[in-house]
Structures are given as C-alpha cells and as structure tokens.
Assembly symmetry: C2
Homo-oligomer: 344 residues x 2
C-alpha cells in the first residue's frame, strides 16, 4: 500500500485538474485565463477587471501548534498566505470566504481571539469577509479562499521571466525559519526579546507584501513574480520552470534577516534564507533596463528589493554561486540540504 | 473556561464579519451586494453578471468516517454542498478552488479515488478546478470554495418570501438521515440492497439541485430559496427570519423518501424528513399565482416540487400542523425533538 506521503511527484490538485474537463459550453464570464500552477487563478470577467482566485489553509499540528500561536496572530496568519498569493499576481485583494474547524474542546476565548485576528487583518488590507462555514473538527484548521482584482493583461505570472532579467527579492529572508526553531526549542511569543522576539514574530505574523506586489504589477516592472512561501530553493525553480528559463543566484547577494543571523549564526541563517520557507517575500524578475526603477520603487515604499542574481537560458539550469566561487545546482539544496555550501 | 461547543448563540463567521469593517474605498468590482447570511455571497462585477461565492468543508470524524465513504463518493460530496449553495441562489456554478488535508498515513489509492470523485463531479456540473492547496493534516478534510454567476437582480435570496406565498420543497426528504443511521449501525455501502442501499447512497452521494435551482431563479418563480443542508426544521426558520415572515407547514404534505419510510418506519421517517438534515433539496417560496407554473416546471424537469404549506405574517410564527390537528412551533422541533408530534 502506498502512503500518501510518498505521492510526491504530482499533487492531488494537479491530478484532479488533469482528469476534470468540464463538458459543454462554459458560462459567460469567469472563464479561466490562467488556471492551476500560478499563485492564483486568473478568471476573465465581462467587465473591466479580471478576477483572481486563491485558497490556503493552516492546520494544527502541521502548520502551527496552538500553544505557540496566540489566537490573534493565528487569525492574522490565516489571511496572510492568500493575501501574499494575490500580491504575487500584482492584484488587489477584495473579498474572502472562511472555513473554520475547531475541536469541541477549544477554549472559546481562543476561538474569539482567532476571529479578532482575522477581522483585524481584513480591515488592515481592506478585504471583506463575505461568507463562510464553521463546524467542529478533530483538529483546528482555518481555510481562506480570497478573490482579487487585476487589470486584464496586468497580472504578473510566473512565466514572464527572460534571459538577462535581473532577479530580486523583497525584504530579508530567514527570520521565520529562525523563529520556528526557537519555538520548537521552547521559546514563547511574548517572553522573548530582541532578535529572538523578532524571529518568532516573523514566523507567527508574516507580512504579506500586498502594496509592493501591486506596485510591481501596475508599473509593469515585474516581468514574472512568485511569493516565497516555500522558500527560495523551491520557489525560484518554479518560477524558472514556468518561464522556461534558468537562473544564477549569488549567495552573498541574498538578504539575510538580521534576527536570523543573530539567532542562528551566519551560516545557518544563510541556509534558512535559502530553504527555510514561510518568508512571504516576493521573488520577481525585471528587465535589466528597469533596474533603476526597481531601486526607486523600493526607496519610495521603504522596502528593500535586493538583486540576487539573474535569469539565464534554461540549459544553464538553476544554480547558486556560493561564497567559495563554486556553482551548485538548486535541486541539491532541496534534497535535504546535504550539498549546501555553508556545510561544505 | 467556556468551551467552543457552548458558543452557539452566534457563529464565529458572524462575529468576524461584525468586527471587520474594511477601511477606505473598495476596489471597483466585486462589491458585496449581499454578504454573510445567505447561501452564497453576491458580488457585483462591472460586467453583465454578478459573481456568487460560497465555501463548504467536510472533515473526517464529524461529517463522515473514511471507513463509510468510498473515496469517489467522498470526492463527489465535497463539491455537492457548494453546488447546492449556488443552486439555492439561482446561479450557474463556474469555478472552484480546493483545499485538501490528508493524514500522512492515508492510503494513496484512497486519496486518488477522492480526486477522481471530485473530478467526475466537476465534469458533471461543468465546473472547473482552478487552484488549490494540499498539505498534510491530522485528520482528513476537504474544503471547496466555489464561484458562480447570476444575472443582476435574478439571484434568489432567502429574504424574498411574503405572506400568502406557497412553500415548496424539491424531491423527497429523510433518506440521508436514514442512511446515516444504517451506517452508524454497521451497514456498508455496496453491501446493502433495495431501500437500505438507496438510503445509504442518499447520505454518501447527495444530488445538488443545480438545474432546478437555476430554472427557479431564471423564471422568477422562486421568490425566496434556501437549500436544506441542515434540515427543514432549521432551514425554514432561517428563510422566514430573513424574509421577516412566518410559515405554516402541513406535516402530511411533507414528501418523505420511500427508502426512509421503509428503513425507519413511518413515524421516524417523518421525523427524519423534518430534522434529519443533509437533504440538499431546495426549499422555496413562490407567489400563489405561480402555483401552476411551479407544477409545470416540476413535470418538465421530472423533479417533484411539493407544496408543503405557506408563508404567513411573522406574528403567527413558524409552525407545523401535525396530523393530530395541533399546531406546534418549529423551535420545539429543533430542541431535541422532545415535542415532536410523531412521539406524542
């Protein structure tokens, strides 16, 4: 018997999509311009704007432990992943439906804190809760399905990168992975301070880059974009595969979060920035002639946008130039980090 | 400490909606014409059609047990609830995103059967899977968020019923509750026959009334509509509350499924038809002058539409006329069925 955990070569979502081919004419409107395989689907409306559609969930014991996550922060995080998906398409998030499953033993105060966190995050990003489903569940989970809007043709896909483009990331990477390590080791939110507190906060309360994503899309500066929810080592190859391109990243150009460097030390922080995941920063490609415009936009919105490398032809693969001067393929980074340069 | 199970007076979804008031101007398009509190939200698009938006989930141990539900049927059911919501608004279902959480121990064959069931249901109802999220989870759950389309002003709300309207249900009620009772008692799908098999099938593989709902909406025959996912005893008071009206239902006019009558016996089947839930039939109100048109539509699509009573002024409450000739308030039915006429 094959356990699901081994079914890694193709996700369930892809399999369903492959075998589900709706018959007959599609209703007018909401035709899928872009389906599975990007940060969000793009649905054509008869009107002026296209609709973006994405979904994400958090579930206890896998994505979080209730003991680690104050209810308010858990609620905020439940919306963050979907907001980040819409940001990575260059869209404006609009309205969402929420499914919440709580074990019957859940403390009502905790559940209401979660509700408060979701509501606060919704207010902050100007999105409306328009429906939902709540029911008992064996373990706590929160699912958000979020709609967004984008001007036709302005959506930023993963597939738009071309050889010669610069490769950029917003913000600094590695802090959420450092925070997770602290939480696993027994540190608690609200009891740590300084860099430790910052790292824990980065894990529990990630900041979706909604304004940056929207501006990178509207200005046309981002030719391709993806959010780093699974980490640079997984998400850069996805962007490259969708674009039919390769990439070279300079390890020393990757912006490592200060809190990660303090908590983990330089080498482990550099590794966390590559493979840690849950950063929710944006990775994007921009044409070489737009480099100055990207820098200007970064200054204007006070968010670092670091050039970490460039897009190259597909045959050159997706590689990282380590501090040692050696090139290493990205797939080796993902395979349990065994060949990670910092360990060499 | 208050356990969540006691927090019954107001759902979490309502609480979040109350405290989440997005600041600032809303983006053009997808403005909520109708938010929480109906079968689906109605979002105004700049184009010709409005967008409907709904979400539902199934979770192991609460909605189903994996041992009861063949994977294919579980997959079909995961879409059925959302399809039924769109049907109850008079809309056309369009595209959906899926979140699937599977325990790591899940047999891959089972997971693929679930995928096959979702895909088959999607093909059958002409809806497209456009995105999703899969991840490990402590207990199996499937969440569907579904978009639909409806002509502006043609959406059928819960709030449109007026005193004097006839009250109708599609199909026959009670079979899913009978099926659930059989499954709890050890019966298994594929091993039962006749009425027992029909009841089990009704529970595991409900039929969303997509065509009936669409026609009742398009023709304007349904003035108010709701699906019976929680049973007549819960859903009729919801329709009445939204409409600011009361209702009188004749118990003898409620269409009881033949399989429920055979499996449960007449009295218990009558009770199941009222309080059993998971019927996914449509309950609607139609103006008295439309009675013949409703009958004609029912004949044309070969789906029973039974007149079970009528809408009355709110001060007369929501009551049922039992076989004994006594009127009983619906809230008594919900309160543990203690006052249920069949037990009197």
């Amino acid at each position: 018997m094959t356990r699901l955990a081994r079914l890694t070569e193709q996700s369930l979502i892809d399999r369903i999509a492959r075998i589900a081919r709706p018959r007959g004419p599609r209703p007018q409107g909401l035709r899928a311009v872009l389906g599975i395989g990007d940060d969000a689907a793009v649905l054509a409306s008869a009107g002026r704007l296209h609709t973006l559609f994405t979904t994400d969930f958090l579930t206890e014991g896998i994505h979080f432990r209730a003991a680690w996550a104050p209810g308010v922060l858990l609620g905020r995080k439940a919306l963050a992943a979907s907001l980040s998906d819409i940001a990575a398409m260059g869209g404006v998030p609009s309205s969402f439906v929420l499914s919440a499953g709580f074990p019957r033993r859940t403390d009502a105060t905790y559940a209401l804190q979660v509700a408060r966190g979701i509501a606060a995050q919704a207010r902050r990003f100007g999105v409306s809760l328009v429906g939902g489903d709540t029911c008992a569940a064996r373990s706590l989970f929160l699912n958000v399905a979020l709609l967004g809007l984008v001007e036709p043709g302005r959506e930023v896909r993963r597939s738009g990168a071309r050889s010669g483009d610069g490769l950029y990331v917003t913000g600094r990477l590695g802090a959420p992975a450092a925070g997770l390590q602290l939480l696993k080791a027994g540190a608690r939110h609200g009891r740590a301070s300084g860099a430790r507190a910052a790292a824990i906060r980065a894990h529990l309360d990630p900041e979706p880059r909604v304004i940056a994503g929207r501006l990178l899309g509207l200005t046309g500066l981002a030719a391709a974009m993806i959010d780093l929810s699974d980490g640079l080592a997984r998400d850069l190859p996805r962007l490259c595969a969708a674009s039919g391109a390769g990439a070279v990243v300079e390890q020393e150009a990757i912006p490592v979060a200060r809190s990660a460097a303090i908590v983990l030390g330089g080498r482990a922080a550099a590794r966390a920035a590559l493979v840690g995941g849950e950063d929710y920063e944006l990775l994007f490609a921009a044409r070489a002639e737009h480099h100055e415009s990207v820098r200007r936009l970064a200054r204007r919105i006070r968010l670092p946008m670091s050039r970490i490398g460039q897009i190259v032809p597909a045959r050159r693969g997706v590689r990282i130039l380590a501090g040692s001067g050696r090139y290493l393929p990205f797939e080796d980074l993902r395979a349990g980090f065994r060949h990670f340069p910092a360990d060499a």
